[in-house]
Every structure is written in C-alpha cells, then in structure tokens.
C-alpha cells in the first residue's frame, strides 16, 4: 500500500468517526464542531485526489462560512447548549435502519460497478486548470449559479425580515 492510500484510509476513518459524532453527539455545540472535523477530513481527501483548489474552497466555504452560520443559528435560536441538549426523535431506530440501508445499498452499487478500478494519472485540479475549464467551457453554469446565489441572498433577507415585522 502506497503512502497516499494509507493517508487516505486514515482521513476516511477520521471523517466517518467525526460524522457519526456530528449526528450522534448529545451536546449541541459539540455536534457543530465535529462537523468541522468531518469537513476538514473530506478536504484532506480532496487533496489526495489531486483536487487542491477544491480542498481550499472546501475549507473556506464549509469550515469558514457554513459552520459559523450553523453556530450563529444555534445562538440566535437560544438553543440549550448544555449536555443532553440535542435530543433525538422517537423514530431514531427507523432512522438508523434507513441510514444503514442507504449506505449499504450505495456501497454495494459502487462495489458492483467499480471493483478493481484504480485512480491513475489524474490531472491535478490546480487553480489554473479549474479556472480554465470554469471560464471557458462551464461559463454559462457559472453565470446561472451567480444569479441563484443572488436570489438565495435576497430570499434569506426577506424571510428573516418578514418574521420580525409580525
């Protein structure tokens, strides 16, 4: 086993354990912080698959912005932050079975489809190569996405304000 494979397996283990803690922790703020560890480990996996630009975007957008938003929302909604503050619903066993079924089903599908395939000679996703592809071939999608982001921003402001006027 080569060094990147070993590092990838370690990163995978970190990601899975911290993801389980992020959805299972009884402590509300801890759950949000375990999400940081999961997203960081996924960023590490991106680096090992030569997607270096995406790894940085993942760290900036997810770890930087999304998790801060989540913690802000926990604060603004005055969620209880002590131990046992994150209660689970009564349908937890059903949720566990469905999650397990989804993971096993997807896992069986990819094993059946891609067993034995190896990643060799991947083209590194540097800022230059991704930028080239993004601003030549994918520029229409990029522009549509900027409109979507603007619409989401305006909608978020409208929704958050309309509640306070009532």
């Amino acid at each position: 086993m080569s060094l990147p494979e070993g590092v990838f397996l370690v990163m995978s283990a970190v990601a899975i354990v911290s993801a389980v803690l992020a959805v299972g922790s009884r402590h509300l703020v801890h759950a949000a912080l375990w999400l940081v560890v999961t997203l960081g480990a996924v960023a590490g996996c991106f680096v090992l698959m030569t997607a270096e630009l995406l790894a940085w975007v993942q760290v900036l957008v997810y770890v930087g912005a999304v998790v801060v938003l989540v913690v802000f929302a926990l604060m603004l909604t005055r969620s209880p932050t002590g131990a046992r503050s994150a209660e689970v619903t009564a349908n937890r066993p059903v949720a566990a079975v469905l999650g397990l079924l989804a993971a096993v089903g997807l896992g069986a599908t990819v094993v059946a489809g891609f067993r034995g395939e190896r990643i060799t000679g991947a083209r590194p996703g540097t800022a230059e190569s991704i930028g080239d592809a993004l601003f030549t071939h994918w520029v229409l999608g990029f522009e549509v996405l900027s409109v979507v982001l603007l619409a989401a921003l305006v909608a978020a402001i409208v929704i958050a304000r309309s509640g306070s006027e009532r």
Binding site: V61, L69, G99, A103, F114, I130
Partner: protein, 102 residues
C-alpha cells in the same frame, strides 16, 4: 489509489447524513445532516473526475457548483429556521409539527 476508497467513504457519509436528517429534533442539526450528504456527493464527483482524468474537469467544476449551492441552501435554510423560531418559539421539529397539527 483504488477508486473504491473514496466511493465507499462517500456511501458511508451519505448514510450517516441521512440518519442525522431523520433522527435529529433540532432543525439546525437537520441542516448539518444535509451538509454531510452533500459532502458525500462532492466526494463521488471528485473521485470520478480523478478516475476519468479528463481535460474539462467536469467533476471538480460540478463540485464547485455544489459547494456554492450548499452555501445558498444553508443560508436560506437557516433563515427559514429563524422565521420558524420567531413564529413558534422553538426549533424542535417534532414540537413544531405538533403545534401545526393542533
């Protein structure tokens, strides 16, 4: 690197995220589960991109799009959660459901 490593990691993260969406009572933590599922999708896209080794980087560009959409989604989702908190005084999904039914 075997292509199966990232794909199996992605399947596991998707299952864990689905459990989080279904089992959590706090609406903000439901959104955390959705983020985990989106990250599983991103891992698949990057893995296929590295496997195909194509010049247009379809997988990585689509991953960029998904990350941007996820940022828009969590912004909107948290705005809705805040509006829900103002209207009902709680972000417990089950309690809000009971209140709507009552």
């Amino acid at each position: 690197m075997p292509l199966l490593y990232p794909l199996l990691l992605s399947a596991a993260l998707f299952g864990i995220g689905l459990y989080g969406v279904l089992a959590r009572r706090n609406a903000v933590l439901v959104l955390v589960g959705i983020e985990l599922m989106l990250n599983a999708v991103n891992l698949q896209l990057v893995a296929y991109d590295a496997w195909f080794a194509e010049t247009l980087h379809t997988g990585q560009v689509l991953t960029l799009f998904v990350i941007a959409l996820a940022a828009a989604e969590i912004g909107l989702g948290l705005a809705i959660v805040l509006a829900m908190f103002r209207a009902t005084g709680t972000i417990d999904v089950d309690a809000v459901e009971r209140e709507v039914e009552a």
